[in-house]
Symmetry: C2
Subunit: 480 residues, 2 copies
């Protein structure tokens, strides 16, 4: 397997959807829809004997009747029809078949597993590569391939390989709302032919991919996977969600992708040794992916925090320390600077900066973030952007004004200080009543503005601190 | 301190706001506003020499000029004016002064700490009780007292005492969106006179309070607090967020409420010994408060899970096990039942139930939840309500339909099985684009419906599992 082969496979000039359909609740419909919707510029061939056209495009009764050659085939037909499809693919010089088709070895049935092996033998014999089976396939927005509705059309630096299709598509959607964009996402399911190693090798090479995200339950080639991992991480961070960590999870992986998950202790050791980054779940994967996407390297653990009231500041300090950051005291030179500016509570303000005490004293949370960011005692900054306004004395209109203004100030701090700046935008504040809905819209707006300003946001201080610490560890191990 | 005294204090017949104001950005305005807005039915006396009336209510130049007696005084005047205010309070037979007024010992200044002590001496001499200083005071929706805009007006079973004002008001808002309602919330700041023990004792007695939530940095009377705690928990669960767990947090508590937080190991031991429940932050406090509010007792750790696709099911199993639940295999009698119903994949379905494999086989996630709920091998159920539809093949309209229908089914399962049922409604799915906003509204609607159905929801399986495990531990220790 050379990366060039996969590069070619991922840039088809023509795609046929076998089992295409006009029924909008079928997968044959949605794969055809996506090719149009995401602007695939090559030839699109819906294949189904029951329709003259699908979504306004001429349909063909079978693959053989499609004119010329076909690079890429999406199979939405039942498992029992795949072998005859493969035979047709040979005539059409198909390079790859994405088997959305499922119900093979993952069912635990012997006959299904045998059929799967027979498909592999046939494909190998005729030189056709397989993605899957039992997977969503490829989301490659730059080339017009997608596996889901309403995923971003613009590309970005994150490449992902995922043993889970639902996990991959769910993650792209959730990640999109955090500002994360993707080069390619490959959901590969049972990994019958092409497997995690091929994809990892490809992403390591792919110039469009700067950060690699992985959801894996069990590698088909464990040794090769870890060997490869060690090389990749010196160039690109690799963030791994490992599914099937315990007894029940392990049992579930068998019926999910017919794989055995292996001991988590071994995984942890291997991942750490390779300087890859372990994430517990897709939420943490998103935290890390956006952090690597937009933050400058985190060069140390010393954090300056501002924006919360008294109690939230205390808890912010706790959560940062528990995540392995150092919440250093304000250094004398910052106290002196405050004193020089006539801030009478220069000796009372601390880190975290409690915004409930500074009102009316001529210093704001943004001033404090700036001072800490410019000071050599701080490696990174965490700002609670809506914590203080949520508990404000103002009426809701006042909250809106202050929130809308906040992002501009954050952007200035980020640019002036050059330090990693992580924003906290609480999630749980939007509710179903009128106020909650207003607030939900406001929070949405603030998030969009933060994304546009290149500032990552997190729902809690604990999650931001955890991401920051993992970035710090990654960079420290990479360049000790 | 008798609970009757506090009961009387919390049910005033007249309230004066000293430093009331027509400036909507002042606290004197907002406390006056809240009395009207939340329907306080006694006499309201705004006090400020500069206004003839405030918010349509006659204002008085000083407390002495208010007619008759005054039960409850909110002080929004500067620290230096509190002693003379106390003198006026004596004439008016004031029972309690809530000192919103701050900048006392928490500033670290000796003169401010001395003034605070003098205020205590004067108050004790004349028999006036103090809430605070440096606090938001009382939210008692049933009686028309509030400390924030847009907090729920209807009461509920949770009583809260909080050393942090911002924490308390932020929490009430966040909790409201989860369906949590409060009997009373008392933010008590520096705890100069009435302290955490008085409030805990009150909530232990208060027939309106079934669950007690606590945010505390440091008790004024540690031994009394823990002695009391041991008694309370046999009647009512007590959930505690401890602020100031580490070095920096401890430093921050000094400037926040002039208290020293103490060793976290001691706290953990004491809390466990008392069968109280430790929560890491306000999010976990909300998880636990809603769980205790609406779930029946969790009698064991064996969980049935349904609603996620393949990868999310695997991770759900992992997160449940990591939280201390047991993800038991499907028992033979459920397999037999599936077989009898003609479900051909009776041997493939597992727990967690992977919804991506069951479509078209005559069994739905709700059927599986019902079967597990009715089976003696399961102590509780977790259902992923929007996980499966987020990754669905349907167009967005299809998602809306399915989500809107889901809650009704959950309610049936809850009622038929009688087992604790926890719903997962993902948070991060709402975004700033059109689809994201639609989805955000939909999620809001689903949450409202769940609240109405008495089903608690959580943003992740991990958080639900953690809450369930802590409930199980509480009930197991309470009735071993």
């Amino acid at each position: 397997m050379s990366v060039e082969t996969l590069e070619e496979i991922l840039h088809p000039q023509s795609v046929a959807v076998i089992g295409a359909s006009a029924n909008s609740r079928s997968w044959g419909y949605s794969y055809t829809h996506h090719l149009i919707e995401y602007g695939f510029r090559g030839d699109i061939y819906p294949v189904n004997p029951n329709y003259p056209e699908i979504l306004g495009i001429k349909a063909y009764p079978n693959l053989s009747s499609v004119p010329g050659t076909v690079d890429y085939v999406v199979s939405c037909v039942p498992a029992g029809d795949v072998l005859s499809l493969l035979a047709e693919c040979v005539q059409k010089e198909v390079k790859v078949v994405h088997l959305y088709t499922a119900r093979f070895s993952e069912t635990g049935r012997e006959d299904a597993a045998e059929l799967e092996q027979e498909i592999l033998r046939q494909a190998r014999k005729v030189g056709i590569r397989l993605i899957g089976p039992n997977c969503m396939g490829v989301y490659h927005p730059e080339h017009g391939l997608s596996f889901g509705y309403n995923l971003p059309k613009e590309p970005g630096p994150v490449g992902m390989l995922s043993q889970s299709g639902g996990g991959a598509s769910g993650f792209v959607r959730v990640a999109a709302n955090r500002g994360i964009r993707f080069s390619k996402v490959i959901s590969y399911g049972n990994a019958l032919d092409l497997n995690e190693c091929d994809y990892l090798e490809y992403f390591a090479w792919d110039p469009k991919t700067q950060i690699i995200a992985v959801y894996i339950e069990s590698p088909r080639e464990g040794q090769r996977f870890f060997d490869m991992l060690r090389h990749v991480t010196s160039e690109k961070p690799v963030i791994i969600v490992k599914g099937g960590r315990g007894q029940a999870g392990n049992r579930a992986t068998v019926s999910h992708t017919a794989s055995l998950a292996g001991s988590m202790n071994t995984w942890e050791a291997m991942i750490t040794q390779a300087n890859a980054i372990l994430a517990a779940n897709f939420d943490e994967l998103a935290d890390l992916a956006i952090s690597f996407s937009v933050l400058p390297p985190v060069r140390g653990p010393r954090v300056g925090i501002a924006g919360g009231g008294g109690g939230p500041s205390v808890l912010s300090a706790d959560e940062c320390e528990e995540a392995g950051l150092e919440v250093v005291p304000l250094p004398p030179e910052i106290r002196q600077e405050l004193k020089d500016k006539g801030v009478s509570i220069w000796d009372w303000i601390g880190n975290p900066v409690d915004v409930s005490i500074i009102g009316g004293f001529g210093v704001a949370d943004l001033d404090m973030l700036r001072m800490m960011g410019l000071n050599e005692n701080f490696d990174l900054l965490i700002g609670l952007i809506n914590e203080n306004v949520m508990q404000t004395l103002s009426l809701p209109e006042g909250i809106a004004q202050r929130l809308q203004g906040a992002v501009g100030g954050y952007k200035q701090v980020k640019e002036e200080t050059g330090k990693p700046l992580l924003a906290i935008v609480g999630d749980d504040s939007s509710g179903s009543d009128e106020y909650g809905q207003q607030n939900g819209q406001l929070v949405s707006e603030v998030r969009s503005n933060l994304i546009a300003a290149g500032i990552p946001f997190y729902p809690t201080v604990g999650r931001a601190a955890n991401a920051a610490r993992k970035l710090y560890d990654y960079y420290a191990r990479k360049n000790p």
